[in-house]
């Protein structure tokens, strides 16, 4: 499978200062960003908000050579489907990997909206369905499903969406969704099902991915650990007569030199309010934990020079990862940095190794 590089879009805020201060560039809300002092005129008025900046990030990812963007699901931020549509016409190329929870509503309605996305983007829409937060967070979202129903509901959601997108008449009666004489005809027929990205480390999550995912997205971890997980998931999928691709959600802190990268990593940790040295953030060579919050998501970040970060990404690719979901703050500037300094190296190394292997 071809390797894809997907840049993350931070729908809840971005910043250059670790996780401690999330800012929303362009935001007009007085609560999020102080305006200039009274002594300086501000021409912006209410013309901009954070969505304008998200558009900038998506354009940056496009121009810097990424293959797609991941539109993060963040209940504290802007809604991912609207953001996806808002950005869609800013590029004719980028995959729009849109993250959401299966509690958003009817699977048929989601599939119907997806069919329009596919028609208007010529098939660039993809789904990342996440289990969401704990029970209290879910109740805030009007979702009273118990923990044990979360993954089965994702399974039904995908089954029904695939059903109506590919069959007509389609019928289904499950625990969460029901359809009679369903399926799309006319202009909405014949559209590709959005590729489904799932994640999770429990045996139930693995079983769900084996049955329904196109891509199983792994949390950042040392490459040897991931090899085991990949082997396990491949066996499970094969048992269903299916094959799975693998994604990796990992942050990248790359600088010209190793020491600059380490200095910036330490600065981010300090800004995040973590006492440096309280526990060793380095979990494997060049792999640091501890930057992420619930909001940013990645379990760990590669830290190093352009060359070493590129080499580690190649190692993950050799271990079987084909979808890299990358992020770094601030997302606009770093999209260019990673696109210019790291991706070309990764791409050419993967190409030469593949041609040697052939």
């Amino acid at each position: 499978m071809a390797i894809e590089f997907i840049w993350q879009l931070p729908t809840g805020g971005d910043g250059r200062h670790g996780d401690a201060t999330q800012t929303r560039r362009g935001e007009r809300s007085g609560l999020t960003r102080p305006p200039f002092t009274e002594g300086v005129s501000d021409p912006r008025g209410e013309r901009f908000n954070f969505l304008d900046h998200l558009h900038q990030i998506a354009r940056a990812a496009d121009l810097a050579g990424f293959d797609g963007i991941q539109i993060q699901h963040d209940p504290q931020g802007d809604e991912s489907w609207i953001v996806a549509g808002y950005l869609a016409r800013g590029s004719r190329r980028l995959k729009l990997l849109t993250e959401f929870e299966a509690s958003r509503g009817s699977a048929v309605y989601a599939a119907k909206n997806a069919a329009s996305f596919q028609r208007f983007t010529q098939g660039r829409f993809a789904w990342q369905i996440s289990p969401g937060g704990d029970a209290a967070l879910r109740r805030q979202q009007g979702d009273h499903a118990p923990d044990s129903d979360i993954l089965p509901r994702i399974g039904e959601f995908v089954e029904v969406a695939k059903g109506v997108l590919t069959q007509s008449p389609y019928r289904f009666k499950g625990r969460f969704f029901e359809v009679l004489d369903g399926g799309f005809n006319g202009p909405l027929s014949n559209n590709p099902v959005p590729p489904v990205y799932l994640s999770g480390g429990s045996p139930e999550a693995y079983a769900l991915s084996a049955q329904w995912a196109d891509v199983h997205v792994l949390d950042a971890a040392p490459v040897d650990e991931l090899k085991e997980t990949i082997a396990k998931l491949e066996a499970l999928a094969a048992g269903q007569g299916r094959s799975l691709a693998f994604g990796l959600r990992i942050d990248v802190l790359a600088r010209e030199t190793e020491s600059e990268a380490v200095r910036d990593a330490q600065r981010f940790l300090a800004q995040s309010g973590r006492a440096v040295g309280s526990s060793d953030p380095v979990v494997a060579p060049g792999l640091w934990a501890g930057f992420a919050t619930e909001r940013t998501g990645a379990a760990a970040s590669l830290v190093g020079s352009y060359g070493t970060v590129a080499e580690r990404l190649v190692k993950y690719a050799e271990a079987g990862v084909s979808s890299f979901i990358l992020a770094a703050i601030p997302h606009l500037e770093e999209a260019y940095r990673i696109g210019e300094q790291v991706l070309p190296v990764v791409r050419s190394r993967i190409a030469t190794r593949l041609s040697k292997a052939a």
Binding site: E79, A88, Y109, K112, D181
Partner: protein
């Protein structure tokens, strides 16, 4: 208050005129026009139907319409998607989004709406629909019966309003329960969308009177429409609220009345006899009170297009020419404007107009008809004639 006039976005495809049966313009149905490939929109050039819809939205805003209704039916593209796609390239166009509340989690819907408000600078509106029922309701994956659906609609709007300003908001309904919910800052600073509400049953009126800003009806015979609007207003007054009314109506306006009817005559001559037979028959089963009312207003014997002229300048055969409503206004620019003013006098506060093809007609109607509509000058609301 002055009158708001909207246009419509042809999600059901666009023929080149009222006479044509070929709704293929803009790659609406790739593969069916013998020009493009089936499946994903667009030919080799990479453009798709959204590019044509973008043209119409811009034509509507350039021509002075408030925005447009974006109908949602089983074979059409979805208005949430269209609105978010067109947010950045329109300036004043307001997106009227029909949706059935049952299909979305209300907390997600609130966040989705607030984000669309942020994306458009506050140009999102709801057209709350509650579903015609019948077999189609389970096509959508919805098994809730007609009157319960309106209870659900009311609860849905309770929750969306409840969380809008940031909460914490808790709610215990039959269909929805939330705990300590609320929109995050800065989403909670957006204006709540205006609500246009459609549905003609008693259950619909009960829900509309609680939540709607505008009660929206298809055009009906003027007396029936006046009664319907009065009923809605009485129910809303009883709750201590005010509601406005809006009419969705197709129009066919030409420099002379003769030219307008000639267009109808030729369109009618093209109607498939089987479609005409269905039109005269009982039609497909529906629980929709609104749809049944429309059917009740049709003549039973139809030999010529003139049999469908039910009032001066009103033709009751529009649904024969294209999907959608039955009654529309036909005439010279002056006549069409006068009929719209008649509707203003019987109580209409807003219109959603449509004519085919929507792009060219947006300019025509904007340039020739809208300037002739007197509407209701600001401050004259209290002088409104009742008769």
């Amino acid at each position: 208050m002055t009158i708001d006039i909207f246009w419509r976005i042809p999600t059901h495809g666009e023929p080149s005129s009222h006479r044509s049966r070929k709704p293929w313009r803009g790659d609406w149905f790739p593969g069916n026009d013998n020009l493009t490939k089936p499946g994903l929109g667009g030919g080799e050039d990479g453009s798709t139907y959204i590019d044509y819809l973008a043209e119409i939205a811009r034509a509507a805003e350039i021509s002075g319409f408030q925005g447009g209704l974006i109908p949602s039916f089983p074979s059409t593209d979805e208005p949430w998607v269209i609105s978010s796609f067109l947010a950045r390239e329109t300036k004043t166009f307001r997106f009227m989004i029909p949706f059935q509340p049952g299909f979305l989690n209300p907390v997600v819907a609130a966040r989705q709406t607030a984000s669309l408000q942020r994306a458009t600078g506050g140009r999102a509106l709801y057209n709350i629909i509650t579903g015609g029922g019948g077999p189609q309701q389970l096509w959508w994956g919805d098994s809730v019966p007609h009157d319960d659906r309106y209870t659900r609609t009311t609860e849905f709007l309770d929750v969306v309003r409840g969380v809008w300003r940031g909460g914490p908001f808790s709610y215990q309904g039959k269909f929805y329960q939330v705990e300590d919910a609320g929109l995050p800052d800065p989403l909670s600073e957006e204006d709540f969308p205006e609500i246009y509400f459609s549905g003609s049953s008693d259950a619909a009126l009960a829900s509309a009177s609680k939540h709607a800003d505008y009660y929206l009806s298809w055009l009906e015979p003027f007396d029936a429409l006046r009664d319907k609007f009065n009923r809605v207003k009485e129910r809303t007054d009883a709750l201590g609220r005010k509601i406005k009314t809006a009419v969705r109506v197709d129009i066919l306006a030409r420099p002379t009345e003769e030219e307008a009817w000639e267009e109808i005559r030729r369109g009618f001559a093209n109607v498939d006899p089987a479609a005409l037979a269905r039109f005269q028959g009982a039609g497909e089963r529906t629980e929709s009170v609104g749809a049944q009312r429309q059917r009740g207003f049709r003549p039973t014997t139809i030999n010529s297009y003139t049999d469908l002229i039910t009032e001066p300048n009103i033709w009751s055969g529009f649904s024969l020419l294209r999907g959608g409503q039955t009654q529309g206004i036909v005439g010279s620019y002056e006549q069409v404007a006068e009929r719209l003013d008649d509707l203003v006098r019987l109580g209409a506060d807003a219109f959603i107009l449509a004519s085919t093809p929507h792009l060219e007609e947006a300019y025509r109607v904007g340039e020739e008809v809208l300037p002739l509509v007197r509407g209701r000058p600001s401050g004259s609301a209290t002088l409104r004639a009742v008769g």
